[in-house]
Symmetry: C2
Subunit: 379 residues, 2 copies
């Protein structure tokens, strides 16, 4: 039913002829972003394991792997299932997998997939995973998740990491592969120099934990973490192996605002915005304003407001679930009823999670349609 409902137009169709709201991906910009991270990592002798929670699309995962990624990260078991079913290997699930039913789903993936890994942050979970692996006669690789101070998941740095690693090492069915230290709260610190300083300080706790593990003779093959905001900082951390950047392929208004390398006042332009929402002006109830057909069901609402692409002086505000309002403060061009306009999205990940397809655009033409098969896979 759902596929039928999306009027999929392909071939020599202009993006301006698409029905709206529609999620667009500028292919040239997207490909440049892919290449930029890949080349940066190669030059700096580090690796990347991109997070697919951003795009939820196996086609994009495969492009990331072709560009040199070690494998991928998935936030949830159900996302990993979608990726594994598409033939993708070397998947790291970056959240603890708790409850017997979810562990059963995890083992279902493990049966058919090589290179599956999951993070753990408590002893009971180690026991549960070990028992499930033994029952299914499988070997499951795990990383110890370390709390970087964000208090979301992870064991405390230092001795608790060593204790949990030892526990894993003596558990049948499990393999200890290393550590995850994802400092989410460092990704969007404003200004590169401040971000670098605080991130390097924060990562010190992971370095110390790794040192303690090695002192005990425990091999730490993987030291993964970081994201789009720290991809060019993390590789300077001793022993760090791979960065989990996700947003770099799309960018969004939130990331643009974190400040560039040369100046915190400038936009963060290491990567360029490739993801937009196409919307139509549908009503003009008062002069000086116009209403578009994209509201809270077309854009994530947790970040700054969406921003018009290529048009200045016309801020957007949410006007309910189905509408947005544009105010002509100092407009660089006119917008009339029936006109289509493009918006840079506020926060890319939850915006993508509202759509079923990317319309892939090159030179304003719809080149392809990619299914967001992992949409809604929050389990």
């Amino acid at each position: 039913m759902e596929k039928k409902r999306h009027h999929i137009l392909k071939g020599n169709i202009s993006k301006w002829d698409l029905d709206t709201p529609a999620l667009l991906l500028d292919m040239d910009v997207f490909e440049a972003n892919l290449k930029k991270l890949s080349e940066y990592c190669r030059k700096n002798d580090t690796a990347f394991r991109p997070h697919i929670k951003t795009h939820k699309c196996p086609i994009i995962s495969k492009k990331q792997i072709s560009s040199g990624a070690l494998g991928i990260c998935a936030a949830k078991t159900s996302e990993a299932e979608v990726m594994a079913d598409s033939g993708i290997r070397n998947i790291l699930i970056t959240s603890p997998v708790i409850t017997p039913y979810k562990i059963k789903r995890l083992m279902g993936i493990r049966k058919n997939t090589s290179g599956l890994m999951v993070v753990v942050d408590n002893v009971k979970n180690v026991t549960d995973l070990s028992e499930a692996a033994k029952r299914d006669n499988l070997k499951l690789d795990v990383l110890v998740d370390i709390n970087p101070g964000e208090d979301r998941t992870g064991v405390k740095p230092g001795k608790p990491v060593v204790d949990l690693a030892k526990n894993i090492l003596k558990s049948d069915g499990l393999g200890f592969r290393g550590i995850q230290f994802y400092a989410g709260h460092m990704q969007q610190i404003h200004g590169f120099h401040e971000r670098r300083k605080r991130n390097m300080e924060c990562m010190e706790k992971a370095v110390e934990s790794k040192r303690l593990l090695e002192k005990e003779g425990i091999h730490v093959g993987i030291f993964t973490g970081g994201g789009t905001g720290t991809y060019n900082i993390d590789h300077n951390v001793p022993g760090f192996t791979d960065v989990q950047s996700g947003s770099y392929i799309f960018m969004d208004v939130e990331y643009l605002a974190i400040g560039g390398k040369d100046s915190p006042e400038k936009l963060y332009e290491d990567f360029a915005p490739s993801l937009t929402v196409l919307s139509t002006a549908i009503s003009q109830p008062v002069k000086g304003k116009i209403t578009v057909d994209a509201g809270k069901k077309a854009f994530a609402t947790d970040g700054p407001n969406p921003v018009l692409k290529g048009i200045s002086g016309i801020p957007y505000e949410f006007m309910g679930d189905e509408y947005g309002g544009l105010t002509f403060e100092n407009p660089s061009r006119e917008i009339k009823i029936g006109d289509k306009v493009e918006f840079l999205v506020s926060h890319c990940d939850p915006t993508v999670n509202l759509y079923d397809h990317y319309h892939c655009i090159r030179n304003e033409i719809v080149e392809d349609i990619w299914e967001i098969s992992g949409r809604g896979m929050s389990q």
Copy 2:
């Protein structure tokens, strides 16, 4: 693919055994809400035309019609398509349908559906709809959408309403049926008495417009508007025909806070919350807090935060796309890793739009699974 990914458990399954996050619908509460609006309207000799943008589920639309609804409202053309395909008739599209492509979709529905109506708020759109209807040899019924002061859609009250109605009356292929006056900004005014006072004042503009139309000999068969916050106020407006309540079947934290009839300090309890999200505690990085597996992709973020159901003293905060944090301030019970908890949702409409299914629960057992076929239908 998507259906396969949702591990659908049915039969004698307890809701506590469902994988999470999952959207639950308490059937007893839902049915009581259905009945309450229906009985209220019958007693007060008024009608209701519920808005399906809230639930996006044909099964629920049919239950609303069985409970006495005149028909349904849909916000978008693509939502109306889903409903029409399920055999539902008498659909009012409550937003202007602009652009040739969208009008073609609209006429596609009209071909196979009786009682389709759409609102209009500008002359150019009247011309476009008239031409499309003539081309397809169809008759399309329209309502004039009046701007209630929210400046989102609609013509100004008074003479502009009469001018547009006259334009419709002389346009081949179109039928003028009446007016829509949806005062969205009145729905959540805190305290019943204040809400009633301001809503009645606001509705006066619609009453005056209707009077002007009738003075010109134009019959106004439909005067639709209002919602869950004003369902028990609007029928006192002279000439008002039907209320567009949507949220009444589910309720949410936002609506609960608008204040009851007896006291603005009390919760709004005309309808009771039937919609919840089931989530699992997956990590406890620090004492006094615990992390659950439901974040910005499991709850809409535009309203107040979600609230635990049946447990007090433990506020929720968003911790990124995949996680929420619970703080044990004054907990009425313990929550441990692996425990499942239920949340009242912040804002029901955009929360539903994140999920593909309702798990229908009665006496804690999964009685049925209803597909949210209109999810993502924002076009």
